[in-house]
Symmetry: C2
Subunit: 190 residues, 2 copies
Amino acid sequence: MNNPAHTDKPLLDAIAKRWSPRAFSEREPTDDELELVFEAARWAPSCFNDQPWQYIVVRRGEPEYADAVAGLVAANQAWAGGAPVLGYSLARRAFSQTGKPNPHAWHDLGAASALLSIQAASIGMMVHQMAGIVADVVRERFAVPDELDVVAGLAIGWPGDPEQLPENYRARELAPRSRKDRAEMLVRFK
Amino acid sequence: MNNPAHTDKPLLDAIAKRWSPRAFSEREPTDDELELVFEAARWAPSCFNDQPWQYIVVRRGEPEYADAVAGLVAANQAWAGGAPVLGYSLARRAFSQTGKPNPHAWHDLGAASALLSIQAASIGMMVHQMAGIVADVVRERFAVPDELDVVAGLAIGWPGDPEQLPENYRARELAPRSRKDRAEMLVRFK
């Protein structure tokens, strides 16, 4: 299934069709496909080119998959707990070179994750990011060093049949995607 | 001039060719081109679909352009102070619906700005984001409400001739783009 953006502008196809499904098919990404997606993140811009992003990526079937599921809040486990790939995005709070705080670490991680989501969408693979995680559980299960923030979860795979979802998620999966008007984004306050 | 990513993966062309020039040509984006670019940002994913991003966009020649230049640190004024379009990205710190703090506001703004940069690159237009801004000056000159963080500056236009840059920036403009190895991004700590 697809759920493209409702736009009358000639957006890049991968930007228009990227969305965040909850139902995933059984198809497993190949190593090449995952490497392609994270290569896109690698080329994101960042403050001082610090590249403050890191990712934990776990395939269904790996021993650590249960740990990855445990890091999600229950409401997300309900649909993401069987996704072909689960991941967590991490932000390094201090600049590598100077050790000073990097206020743009989360911003730049957001850029990297956006690029990987677009690259994924270009081959039909979708990335559903989740704020609904238990960062402390992720930190403990994956021994994440203190200098990294655990920022978001990622469920990765090809969209599947909404019928496989718990009932309360089915209608949402099919609902048209919505956004505020563009005029609300482009502002002048005086 | 171009400065593409050095990648052996078949990245989306717009992701591979996106970069952050300092030299801009005289070409002015049309309204259509700017709308296209911000339409891409509009469709970024965000926590609770809150869309915590806003943008101030000023064209060279508008009365507010001097205010936009004033919001940059001197080192950025030196090259960006004449860009065809200058902008600032803003993040709403609290969720619209609940008023509770949104820890992902900067992260989600980063995603939106990444999407607009990729959409721009798809038509050859480049967006150079800058952390080097004076947020208080931007807030004052543009009367930015307190509930919004001023996060980054944006210089927007088509790449120009590096010879027009101050001498200390010329070599940097031509230097190959570099990133850490992909293996440093994809981590397992145990």
